[in-house]
């Protein structure tokens, strides 16, 4: 389903403009979508700097794109109202990259049946297929879970599905708008010959005995062991939760084998950063002393330090025992480095130790907070399914809470609430342009294969409610009284979000619920810097600035023409400047003076010439007459 023809391809780094017509939330969502491309494909995006062709994302009517690079200079892509969902942006950019919808593949009818009589009249053409002369499926099987597939209700004229999958299990899979599927990525990476990605660094589920090239350090007291279970827990790995017999390995530090203070260090293979910031994620299980801790270091190498400099980045203490826990650690490394995990035996008895699995390292931003919900399944569709997260603080100091609404029969909702907090007196109200991104984590061991469900909302300080209040005003002013589980009273602002975050069916699919645990990743960012994004392009061709050391006088302007420098001189109604540097002034009076003087000069000159000629002629005449008289003999000197 990719359009055939090299001319439709974009360069691997696509120039883009975020037009100022876009809603603020949409701008943030588009930039998040770009991060998904950078993590999972070799496609990158850069602000337009004058390149011949670029994509201009603007707020048009609806969500649409052209297919492929149209070489039209400014190629528009519309992210209009209600299109500001990350997978919608991913979908439209896949069109721009050269993909059609999945069910329009030439072999579509092998996998789905189109129910023509259930399609809105006049919309049947939307279900046509391409032949394989113009569309290439890139040797990838039909993909029910493609982000490019119609849903079963597309263009329906009633309530019956317009598409019926031949394998019924996929009926509710088609039409997912969460993230790229594995096949989406396979096709895109094949089409653009991707071999690397900008932000992915490493993923390790420890299934292979080479443990992803990790090495044991020397100078510690014990080694990390490659195991598939530990007597005192965990009974199984996190990758497959013990569902695969004969596999399911992880690394374990047996803290009971060392004395208090004893350590075991495990180092990653050598890694080469490109962006200078990283997010390390991993699952950790504690079954030893409750004072056991995990220290995370980076060992950064440089030309003059071949052994590397060990830097402690984070100490992870008070690890809950008895279950796998997700952790994120933010790194800021710019040179070749290793990640080092140091297990430390803590005080008190230990019969087990620390276990680590499903490590992922990428050059992306870590979420600011994690909401870990245990024993999740019981809440789905139950009246007790109204869950509020603990309070969190955004980097700017705004206190907030997430509300997960699970008691509906079909859909789960999610809402962002500002709540009263310790910094409220110092904060700006109404809360300006804070974008809250709420991600239901797909706990696939490999970050590249995760299809997490994400929604972002942004606090618009100008938004008002029906009673005239500002929606995002201070919660103690516009909010309601609420109580934390420990009885502490606080104010909670009105929730802003969606009732259609994810269907219960999808919620129970993939690895959203793993070990009956769910993780909601939360990030609240200030996006006020995105207020005006359409920037002037920086010309790519360098201009030799001859004018630097060439000055023009009298407000003349230096210009370069045909490689030569000169001045454009100012002029007025009856005056002007001339000369190489506009140094001479001229005016119409001058012209008059010149005209008069030249006329006068001409007159005088003519007068002189005339006089001289008259003189000469007279003189010549006079001499002639005198000579005539002299030669005249008077013949008759006599008068008669």
């Amino acid at each position: 389903n990719s359009i055939i023809g090299e001319e439709y391809r974009w360069p691997h780094t696509i120039p883009y403009v975020l037009d100022n017509s876009l809603e603020m939330n949409a701008k943030g969502v588009i930039l998040n979508a770009f991060e998904r491309y950078r993590l999972k494909t070799c496609i990158d995006f850069k602000p337009w700097a004058g390149e011949a062709n670029y994509i201009s994302v603007f707020k048009g009517s609806g969500c649409w794109s052209s297919v492929g690079n149209r070489h039209m200079g400014k190629q528009e892509l519309s992210i209009g109202e209600n299109c500001d969902r990350i997978a919608t942006v991913q979908h439209e950019f896949l069109h721009a990259l050269g993909f059609w919808h999945e069910q329009s593949r030439s072999d579509r009818d092998d996998y789905v049946s189109i129910m023509w009589d259930r399609i809105q009249s006049g919309r049947e053409h939307n279900f046509d297929t391409y032949n394989d002369q113009v569309s290439d499926s890139l040797n990838v099987p039909y993909d029910y879970s493609s982000v490019m597939h119609y849903s079963k209700t597309a263009f329906q004229n009633g309530t019956e599905p317009t598409i019926v999958t031949r394998i019924s299990d996929f009926m509710d899979v088609i039409g997912q708008r969460m993230d790229f599927s594995d096949y989406d990525l396979l096709k895109l990476n094949r089409l653009y010959n991707c071999t690397t990605s900008l932000s992915f660094m490493d993923s390790c589920n420890f299934e292979l005995e080479n443990v992803c090239g990790m090495i044991q350090s020397s100078g510690d007291n014990a080694d990390w062991q490659w195991v598939s279970e530990v007597p005192r827990g965990p009974e199984s790995d996190h990758s497959s939760m013990g569902q695969c017999k004969g596999s399911g390995f992880f690394m374990h530090f047996n803290s009971s084998s060392v004395s208090v203070g004893g350590t075991a260090m495990l180092e990653s293979r050598t890694l080469y950063p490109k962006r200078g910031f990283q997010c390390l994620q991993f699952y950790l299980y504690s079954s030893g002393s409750e004072n056991d801790q995990l220290n995370v270091y980076t060992r950064e190498y440089s030309a003059d330090n071949v052994a590397g400099t060990l830097t402690l980045v984070e100490e992870i203490k008070e690890i809950p025992t008895g279950s796998w826990q997700l952790y994120h650690v933010t790194l800021k490394v710019t040179n070749k480095f290793r990640v080092v995990f140091e297990g430390v035996r803590g005080a008190g008895a230990s019969l087990g130790g620390l276990s680590i699995d499903d490590i992922n390292l990428s050059e992306t931003q870590c979420p600011h907070h994690i909401w870990h919900i245990k024993n999740f399944t019981q809440f789905i569709g139950s009246s007790s399914g109204t869950l509020y997260s603990p309070p969190f603080y955004s980097p700017k100091g705004y206190a907030f809470q997430i509300h997960l609404h699970l008691s509906d029969s079909t859909n789960a909702g999610i809402y962002f609430h500002l709540i009263s907090g310790a910094n409220d007196d110092q904060l700006q109200w109404p809360c300006p342009w804070q974008q809250a991104t709420m991600t239901l984590l797909d706990q696939n061991p490999d970050i590249r294969q995760r299809m997490s469900n994400q929604r972002s909302v942004t606090t618009d300080p100008f938004m008002t409610t029906d009673n005239g209040n500002y929606f995002w005003d201070r919660p103690s002013k516009v909010g309601e009284v609420a109580f934390f589980p420990n009885g502490t009273q606080f104010s909670r602002g009105r929730g802003f979000g969606t009732s259609a975050f994810i269907t219960h069916k999808r919620l129970k699919s993939r690895d959203f619920i793993k070990g009956d645990d769910v993780y909601i990743l939360l990030t609240v960012e200030d996006i006020s810097h995105l207020n005006s994004t359409a920037v002037e392009p920086i010309p790519t061709s360098t201009i030799n600035d001859f004018c630097v050391n060439f000055t023009c006088e009298n407000d003349g302007i230096c210009v370069v023409q045909n490689g030569r420098v000169g001045c454009r001189c100012p002029s007025g109604e009856d005056w002007w400047y001339v000369g190489e540097r506009c140094e001479r002034r001229g005016s119409t009076q001058d012209t008059i003076v010149i005209a008069v003087s030249s006329t006068a000069a001409m007159f005088v000159l003519m007068l002189i010439v005339t006089l001289v000629s008259v003189y000469c002629i007279r003189k010549k005449y006079r001499s002639k007459t005198s000579s005539n008289t002299a030669d005249m003999t008077l013949q008759n000197q006599h008068a008669f």
């Binding site: 009517s61 609806g62 969500c63 649409w64 794109s65 052209s66 297919v67 149209r70 039209m72 528009e76 519309s78 209009g80 109202e81 209600n82 299109c83 919608t88 979908h91 439209e92 069109h95 059609w100 919808h101 329009s104 006049g122 053409h125 939307n126 046509d128 391409y130 119609y150 849903s151 209700t153 597309a154 263009f155 039409g175 708008r177 509300h403 609404h405 859909n411 909702g413 809402y415 909302v457 929606f471 309601e480 609420a482 909670r492 009105r494 929730g495 802003f496 979000g497 969606t498 009732s499 259609a500 269907t503």
Partner: protein, 39 residues
């Protein structure tokens, strides 16, 4: 508690539903043809 603000108005709208509601009749629901594209 007071009603939350639901940006989706209770409906799980797909790309094509959004475009349809706006009266757009784009090719395959969300593809703009630039006149050159042939089928």
């Amino acid at each position: 508690t007071r009603e939350n603000f639901d940006v989706d108005g209770g409906i799980d709208q797909d790309i094509f539903d959004i475009n349809e509601d706006l009266g757009l009749d784009l090719f395959e629901g969300d593809i703009r043809l630039d006149g050159v594209q042939e089928r």
